[in-house]
């Protein structure tokens, strides 16, 4: 009699970026963020739709799931809040009232809520926040043994941790506790520069190359770096322990300028602040990573936590530290905690051996050609159908060469904040004006924001000064030929690279190859398929609505190509309700 499969459901929710993940016999068969289904960016609510997707993908019901694991220990987080209010007394009443309402009304009853929503009685497991992050990086890496570092805002008490993974075992040995946090330092400046907290950090990183690091001395007043890799924040400048704001008056006095409002223009001062912050953050990260190697020498490093999404700092790790190989899980933020929690239970607790295969980032929903064709026919949308991928790739390459901006929707949706060729907007990088055109007319976002290149892996070192592959767009490196691909080269001549292999994404590889054959350029612009404030598209209907909402020229839905030229835009628009998304 065949043995039945073993299923583990991982969950993260109730803070930001809620998500679900399903393991079948230790293999990740589905993972998705709730925001993609609810169309609410960074949705923190219970991931009901993401769970349903995971169960459908495995063709099972919740009764078939053997274990459910949540990505943190909620009571420890509650303890941290209470202790912080005691420590900050007599300040903190306003923040206490706001947070206690959420905790007493929802978060303290987490087990009850999960059981009620899922209609189950079995116990829920709780994996500590940083172990969830560490597990998401180590167990999805190709390394049998590695040092693991997690750098985050805060989870329970921990903000930074380091440890080691070997085969199925993973242990963290040291931690830095709240309030000393590199993630919260970065978030405090995100707030100061007028961007949304827990959302706009990547904009600060994109802004940094426009400035000069003139304010490093002042930022060093906020953070002390120790020789052993640890750090301490000077809490007299920060308000996040006791207030709903991140910083206080002393912080503003130190930098002599008020908090920028979102509608205010970005001045050279703001750019210099971003540059200074990026420099200090990089120094702190590299100091920490070098110290981890001294603490326990190793060849391989796995990195996770929200700060691991700082691809500029990541790009310097292999050059400036003794580690030889680096792996960063593509969903390094809290959504990835769902994957880590499930993997920790499967490997470390249940002692199942670790697989050393590369984990695919394409873990979300996919849609059949038949479904898409029915949708197009129902709405009387004109399209071209291609039954063979090489022909489809050649047609897309032709459109790119004619300077068309293309919405590319194919296969399974990516898990994590980066679009890696299945839910992407692509364009020709040789035309410099595409930078502004895609930013302002397609994405409706700030003009300073750079675009990432997708490059054939075979041509990677020809165009970039990089020693390793970068399949998840998490490493930045200097461009060797900036004049050839100006639209994907930032002002400091760097780029956040996605190297594409045939094995990882055959269709996307074929598209870039076709463009290379046609033009001699193995690089294309790749940005996420969404507009400002919108989560990345999930379904073909989301993709089509986004296509209508913008000045995109061409839409590729699996095997079908739809052009604006062929379809009278206004007439088709009448059949759809196009939601407005608040700018983030």
């Amino acid at each position: 009699m065949p043995q039945s499969s073993h299923y583990i459901l991982g969950l993260s929710c109730f803070y930001h970026d809620s998500a679900a993940c399903l393991l079948k016999d230790g293999e990740i068969i589905a993972a998705a963020s709730e925001e993609r289904f609810t169309r609410k960016k960074h949705d923190e609510n219970f991931p009901e739709k993401a769970i349903n997707f995971c169960l459908q993908q495995a063709n099972i019901t919740i009764k078939d799931v053997d274990h459910i694991c949540f990505y943190e220990k909620p009571i420890l987080k509650f303890e941290r809040l209470l202790m912080t209010y005691i420590r900050s007394w007599p300040r903190g009443l306003k923040s206490f009232l706001a947070s206690m309402r959420t905790w007493l009304g929802q978060k303290l009853w987490l087990e009850h809520i999960i059981k009620k929503k899922l209609q189950i009685k079995k116990p829920i497991h709780y994996c500590p926040h940083h172990l969830s992050h560490a597990a998401s990086a180590f167990y999805t890496s190709p390394f049998p043994e590695a040092n693991v570092i997690t750098i985050d805002g805060v989870g329970e008490w921990t903000t930074t941790a380091l440890g080691n993974g070997k085969n199925h075992q993973l242990e963290l040995s040291k931690e830095i506790k709240f309030p000393h946090s590199l993630g919260l330092l970065y978030t405090a400046f995100t707030y100061y520069l007028g961007f949304k907290v827990n959302s706009g950090e990547y904009k600060v990183m994109g802004l940094a190359p426009y400035g000069q690091p003139k304010y490093c001395d002042k930022i060093q007043e906020l953070i002390t770096l120790f020789d052993d890799g640890s750090f301490q924040l000077n809490m007299k400048y920060f308000a996040y322990e006791y207030d709903l704001r991140m910083i206080n008056k002393k912080f503003i006095k130190l930098f002599e300028k008020p908090v920028r409002q979102p509608k205010d223009p970005l001045t050279q001062f703001h750019k210099d602040i971003a540059a200074s912050l990026q420099k200090v953050t990089e120094t702190a990260i590299l100091n920490l990573i070098k110290a981890s190697h001294r603490h326990q020498p190793a060849t391989n490093l796995c990195l996770s936590g929200g700060v691991a999404l700082n691809c500029v700092a990541n790009g310097k790790i292999l050059k400036e530290t003794p580690y030889q190989k680096l792996y960063i899980f593509p969903a390094a933020g809290d959504a990835g905690g769902a994957v880590g929690a499930a993997l920790y239970l499967h490997h470390h607790i249940l002692k199942n051996p670790k697989s050393n295969k590369h984990t695919s980032p394409y873990l979300g929903p996919e849609y059949s050609n038949q479904e898409i064709q029915n949708f197009l026919d129902t709405h009387k949308i004109k399209y071209q159908e291609f039954t063979k991928t090489p022909e489809l790739a050649k047609e897309i390459a032709q459109h790119l060469n004619h300077n068309k901006v293309i919405g590319l929707f194919q296969g399974r949706m990516e898990f994590g904040p980066r679009a890696l060729g299945n839910r992407s907007i692509i364009a020709d990088p040789r035309q410099k004006e595409n930078w502004q055109r895609v930013n302002l007319k397609i994405k409706f976002r700030e003009s300073f924001r750079p675009f990432a290149p997708s490059i054939l892996h075979e041509k990677l070192t020809e165009f970039y000064d990089i020693e390793t592959e970068s399949p998840y767009m998490l490493l930045t490196a200097p461009t060797k030929k900036p004049q050839d691909i100006p639209a994907t080269t930032h002002v400091d001549k760097s780029a956040r690279i996605q190297s594409v292999t045939k094995k990882q994404n055959p269709t996307y590889h074929q598209i870039i190859s076709a463009f290379n054959e046609l033009t001699g350029c193995p690089v294309i612009i790749n940005t996420s398929f969404n507009v400002r404030g919108e989560p990345i598209v999930c379904s073909y209907e989301d993709a089509f609505k986004c296509f209508l909402r913008t000045d995109m020229d061409v839409l590729v839905l699996n095997n079908f190509i739809i052009t604006k030229e062929q379809n009278a835009k206004e007439k088709i628009k009448e059949n759809f309700i196009l939601e407005e998304f608040a700018a983030d």
């Binding site: 220990k73 007394w89 497991h125 172990l131 242990e171 963290l172 830095i176 640890s230 239970l345």
Partner: protein, 82 residues
């Protein structure tokens, strides 16, 4: 007849919506009062003691590393929310 029923339902819905708005505001006031009492009665007392004890503890740090104590070794540990 049907029309009358619709009007009745609509009035009930209006009352319910009004009551819910009132209840929400009342709940907000109640929770503000209760939580303020907890803040003064619980947080303040511990806060005063914490401040007093921390006067004797202040020393310059040379490291912020601490031993990580949350490694889990059994499924029973994983079932705990703390």
């Amino acid at each position: 007849m049907t029309q009358k029923k619709t009007v009745k339902k609509s009035a009930w819905q209006k009352f319910k919506a009004g009551w819910m708005t009132f209840a929400e505001k009342l709940g907000f006031i109640n929770s503000t009062v209760l939580l303020t009492v907890i803040f003064i009665g619980f947080i303040s007392i511990y806060g005063i003691f914490y401040k007093l004890f921390s006067l004797f503890k202040r020393q310059k740090k040379t490291s912020t590393w601490e031993k990580f104590s949350l490694n889990q070794n059994s499924i029973e540990e994983l079932k705990r929310q703390f």
